[in-house]
């Protein structure tokens, strides 16, 4: 039994005090794949000890022939060596008392039977010495909160949101321009540290409020643990989403039963994710929409959606999506309808979705102010979608800013999610102004807006402990 909690045990993975880079390159600059240089550029302020018997120094630091010669304590080793000498290097780490190693090297379980055997050997060494291993075959860790990285290629520094990523590839460290993670780990072959371990760490970490997981597969029997830990994570207030890709061969190919022949491992993940309160996302776009929706929008207390729009066609698209995603078109009160009806011609009967077209032509700012206030104040409305023109310059004589101000003033007053799907080929600064409003998210597609609200309402229920 391990005495430490996940937070303490995995701390050296993301936040080491001193790191040894075993196989540190002598060269630096573009194309040198120098981990020491990347650590410097990333702003890591712990101690860095290069290990390379062929070098005297690396980037101004003394290079050691062997990790056991480092005079001070080290709590994370990055192993960047040809595969056949990795087990020996790991033994050295064990003798030096280093608790965590990231093994960047490839050619283990990712490379056939011989590689698989070498990974088994490596795991045995790690077990003997009680070393927790990230990888092998990994980019390792990037942590914007601690400025620690094991990457051998430069990672652009930038701001971050309270998001933790668990990936089985380095790809997702770079492929999401809008998903600004705080902590990232590539599990590689996951010989030791796996999804469940890191999820426990993120669950307990105060800087993480949302987890994005990329899953190709889980270790034997780890599926149940994942469900259990994910439920606890969500129950403690941290949302979890997952992108599940690929198929693995079925364990029982000789199944006789209907069930056995049906079992598509992927479909099992659908059920398991639901049991774990994990939002399954389908692609990059989905992941980024869910990421922003869960970060930027307040809780949604039900499934009722109110909508204001300038276009009947947008209403129909929204209603299609509301059916598809099992949401509800809110039954707005007669007070809500009357408020907008007074600004509209008699021939237009106001209901939800609220057709604001005619009222907008007369007086856009008033129309948006009245409708936004009335719809958001309505108890049946748990969230609002606005499909509105934000063309800049505005087609209305009063100017574009008039109806944007209504959102700026009214939306933050209500604790309800609002998604604006802007219409207009030239959106200029208006879009950025809208995006800055609290409780408001700007998305480009009505179906995505409904999908996002579905996720927010589910997540609200999940975090409240229900389904």
């Amino acid at each position: 039994m391990r005495a430490m909690g996940p937070l303490e045990e995995l701390q050296p993975v993301f936040d080491p005090d001193a790191v040894a880079v075993i196989g540190a390159r002598r060269a630096n600059g573009p194309g040198s794949f120098n981990v020491v240089e990347n650590l410097d550029e990333f702003g890591y302020d712990g101690e860095i000890y290069p290990v390379n018997p062929k070098a005297d120094e690396v980037l101004g630091r003394t290079a050691y022939d062997d990790v056991r010669e480092i005079p001070d304590p080290v709590d994370h080793a990055v192993v960047f060596l040809p595969r056949h000498i990795v087990p020996d290097a790991l033994r050295g780490c064990g003798e030096a008392g280093i608790p965590v190693a990231t093994i960047v090297s490839q050619g283990f379980a990712d490379a056939g039977e011989e590689g698989g055997a070498m990974q088994t050997e490596l795991s045995a060494v790690a077990d003997d010495h009680g070393i927790r291993v990230v990888g092998p075959n990994t980019m390792g860790v990037h942590d914007f909160t601690t400025n620690f990285t094991t990457a051998f290629a430069p990672i652009a520094q930038r701001g971050y949101d309270p998001v933790g990523v668990i990936s089985q590839t380095g790809l997702f460290s770079m492929s999401f321009p809008d998903l600004r993670y705080a902590k990232f780990v590539d599990l590689g072959n996951a010989s030791d540290i796996d999804h469940v371990d890191v999820l426990e760490y993120y669950r307990d970490h105060p800087d993480i409020e949302q987890v994005f997981m990329h899953v190709e597969g889980l270790g034997p029997g780890r599926g149940r643990d994942l469900i259990e830990v994910a439920r606890a994570t969500v129950g403690s207030g941290t949302s979890v989403m997952a992108l599940k890709t690929g198929q693995t061969p079925l364990g029982k190919s000789k199944a006789e039963s209907h069930t056995g022949s049906l079992i598509g491992e992927d479909k099992v993940f659908d059920g398991a994710f639901e049991q774990g309160r994990i939002h399954r996302v389908d692609d990059y776009t989905d992941a980024q929409v869910v990421n922003r929706a869960l970060l930027d929008l307040p809780d949604m207390a039900g499934t009722g959606i109110g909508m204001i729009t300038h276009h009947g066609a947008a209403s129909i698209m929204a209603m299609d999506a509301i059916s598809e995603f099992d949401m509800e078109l809110a039954s707005i009160s007669s007070e809500t309808a009357t408020a907008v009806q007074e600004l509209s011609p008699d021939w237009l009967e106001i209901d939800n979705p609220v057709d604001l077209g005619p009222a907008t032509v007369v007086d856009a700012p008033t129309a948006h102010e009245v409708a936004t206030e009335a719809v958001l104040a309505d108890d049946a409305v748990h969230a609002m979608i606005a499909s509105i023109h934000i063309a800049d310059p505005s087609p209305w004589p009063i100017g574009v800013w008039g109806h944007i101000e209504a959102f700026e003033e009214i939306v933050p007053k209500y604790d309800k999610p609002v998604i604006v799907v802007p219409v207009g080929t030239e959106q200029g600064e208006t879009r950025a102004r809208l995006a800055a409003v609290d409780n408001l998210l700007v998305l480009d597609d009505i179906r995505q807006a409904v999908r996002a609200l579905r996720t927010v309402s589910l997540d609200t229920t999940y975090r409240g402990g229900d389904r």
């Binding site: 597969g217 889980l218 270790g219 034997p220 029997g221 780890r222 599926g223 149940r224 469900i227 693995t248 079925l250 364990g251 029982k252 199944a255 006789e256 039963s257 209907h258 069930t259 056995g260 022949s261 049906l262 079992i263 491992e265 479909k267 099992v268 659908d270 059920g271 398991a272 639901e274 049991q275 389904r467």
Partner: protein, 238 residues
């Protein structure tokens, strides 16, 4: 609590239960099954003797009844002609003879352990599939979906990992594309959803408590307005 029925078959070295044996296991876990009697099979025994045995049984099911061979090594009994529906007592003996002729045509005793005479439970029934198999990543997994002979065509099945809660089962039903079959449908009242939930939870308990089950399948599970009944079952143990 592990199953006593399963222990009995394991002790006898049986790895694959026939339909009658599988239903003994299901009954042990309170999963409703049709009234049935198992008639002893003997090579050359005439149909009339089976009828005598049927009528001598304590409380034989009323007509119509289904006759089915109980044969552990036959995956699909209906594929080898091992099923007859019998509407009245006069049809019974000839139906047994026909059925045995077909099943034993190619192989002397057809691997038969007996003949099941079971109550017809198809009244107002919608056919569901309730099953379990072992997934390498999740272990034993329970499946629930639209059953019957077209299972592999429609593939309308949901999976969950035990332990399973009532909310999981209701969500499985909600997620089925064919969920409208379970509601009021062609003049039939909606199926008893609570009975489906109970059956799935009992089945999940059976699977959890007996990890030696590598594969189990109730197809069809007859879901009716007045409950559910396991009309056919298969269990394989390791």
């Amino acid at each position: 609590m592990k199953s006593d029925v399963l222990a009995e078959y394991r002790d006898r070295g049986i790895e694959r239960l026939n339909e009658y044996e599988a239903r003994r296991l299901l009954r042990e876990y309170d999963i409703p099954c049709p009234d049935e009697v198992l008639l002893a099979y003997d090579e050359g025994k005439p149909g009339a003797d089976y009828l005598d045995e049927f009528q001598a049984a304590g409380d034989p099911p009323g007509f119509p009844v289904y006759l089915k061979v109980a044969a552990r090594d036959v995956t699909s009994v209906s594929d080898v002609g091992g099923v007859e529906r019998v509407g009245s007592v006069t049809e019974f003996a000839p139906a047994v003879d026909r059925l045995l002729d077909r099943v034993t045509a190619g192989q002397p005793n057809g691997g038969i352990q007996g003949i099941i005479a079971a109550e017809d439970v198809s009244d107002r029934a919608r056919e569901l599939l309730l099953g379990s198999t072992v997934d390498p990543q999740f272990g034993a997994v329970v499946s629930l979906g639209i059953g019957g002979i077209y299972v592999e065509v429609y593939r309308d099945v949901e999976f969950r990992v035990p332990p399973i809660e009532p909310a999981d089962v209701r969500s499985m039903l909600r997620n089925l594309r064919g969920r409208e079959l379970l509601a009021e449908f062609r003049g039939m009242p909606a199926v008893d959803e609570d009975a489906v939930v109970d059956a799935v939870l009992s089945f999940a308990r059976l699977i959890e408590e007996n990890p030696e089950i590598v594969e189990a399948d109730i197809n069809p599970l007859m879901a009716r307005p007045d409950g559910v009944v396991a009309a056919d079952a298969l269990v394989r143990i390791d």
